[in-house]
Amino acid sequence: MTRERTVNLVLLLLVPAAALAAQAIGETFYVTLATRIAILALAATGLNIALGLGGLVSFGHAAFFGIGGYAAGILATHAFNQEPLLFGLPGSKQMLVIWLTSLVASGLVAAVIGAISLRTSGVYFIMITLAFAQMIYYFAISWPAYGGEDGLSLYVRNSFPGLNTLDPMTFFLICYGLLVLGLLVFATLRASRFGTALQASRQNPTRVAAVGITPYRIRLVAFILSGMVTAIAGALYADLNRFVSPSMLSWHMSGELIVLIILGGTGRLFGPLAGAILYILFEFVLGGLTESWQLFLGLILLGVVLFARGGLIGLLAGKERHG
């Protein structure tokens, strides 16, 4: 077993172990913390498909995170008020229905944003994805039907057949199960023919085109899949907080998702999870010491970018053998 695998295994077991230990001593607050780690790691794993494998620096993934969140919020509100949603279809409090809706909605939006943004590259791509996410952010703020700037509260956590989602540990396990599923999707994609073509179009698009593959199409599919995974995380985040607001769509959120990946290690399967653990620990430890913890987060981040480019996994497991 290579060192990276050992590190990965430890990371994978660390979070549920911490959650179970917290449950055992009756500190459910830490279970919630572990749930946040799982959800943020899932969101960043989605982004990692575009950013890590495809080299597409999307600075607008908060859009998909927020779309997932609003899908949960809007469906649950309609179910609660017993108002039909669209074309006479009812709302729903079932997580499975909400996840499906998040996938479809975010997939469609990602297809539109991706189709336009992927015509450009480099800095243009960064700025355009940012601009599209801002467009959705301002739309959410100025559209009064679903709370506008104040956001939308969910009266009760949505349900999953056969499980009591109100129990923090059960909800953690749902989120963690989806994270593992997300990681599996990432690993399968990376190992597949599609993933090879995607990584090749990051490394040398001209050559990829020369062997008869269109990088644009490959990238678009990757961008759509990436947005869909992040949207599922958004739906879970709405259920965790029982609240959705435009802040889920803000560009700080997009920045944080990139930060998670870089803190953990770019292009690594477990980079997002390592990054999410670090980020939540920083927030919890530094946030307990000082109100301006983001100042220190900024300094740490600056240090990582300038001096420790492999992130946490790079530090623990050494350099990647192939990139």
Partner: protein, 306 residues
Amino acid sequence: MSSALIIEQVLNGIQLGVTLFLMAAGLTLIFGVMGLINLAHGSLYMVGAFACAVVAAATGSFWLGLAASLAAAAAAGAVMEILVIRRLYARDHLDQVLATFALILIFSEATRWLFGSFPLYLNIPSALSGAVHLPGGAQYSLYRLAIIGVGIVVAAGLYLLISHTRLGMRIRAGESDREMIGALGVDIRTLYTIVFALGAALAGLAGALVGAQQSVQVGMGEPVLILAFVVIVIGGIGSIKGALIGAVLVGVVDTLGRFLLPVLLEVFLPPSQAASIGAAVASMLIYIVMALILAVRPQGLFAANA
């Protein structure tokens, strides 16, 4: 709806455009010469506004505050370039985005720590506080007209600087071939610091000018920064002319959209719906314009060195 109201809104749009131009000119110059994407440009805007507010409150003079905003933002920019940005020129855009994102966190929290979360107030100087009569019977704020004037002066000044001075010649040379001008004996590190400080000073000026109209607070630079990104994407990254035209376009489209769309929609919809749908669509309008322009010209209207 009178013609006076429309003239007023168009002028408001141009004034917003001019403010965006001051931000976008620096961003596009920095990208054109150094190939760097700087998210922390909004922090320099905030530094300018705070410097102006603090100095104006201490001395009672807005003009001293304005001078302080230029000096403080240029100094902050130079320090930022020497300590951090200089190490990023050879890195990819992802590292640049992250490092400058980290700088935003540092600047915002440090400013909050120094000045608190409450906004500072900065008054419009008394010499510019009145209104002027425009032809057609409209009245318009003198201060807003002055901002438009500043924008025109800065645009002309930048044009002269870049096309008619030795520094401008070096900047243009740096845009087209940085290794060659280094080989010709130009101190490229100093040139980069000067360009960065110049862009920072323009952002600081914009912050001070807008700070007097609105409030001076932490985070004030971020919405402007994102609009400035839209401007340079529309105009073509690296092109000052593109930044000017893009800025005025974005300013006018945004202002007129917010003003006209709800009115236009009232023709088809009940007033309450027209107001809310109009506001929602208007807030997305400039991004729709950006998407349309990019669909036709992916490199923007005036791509400099694509």
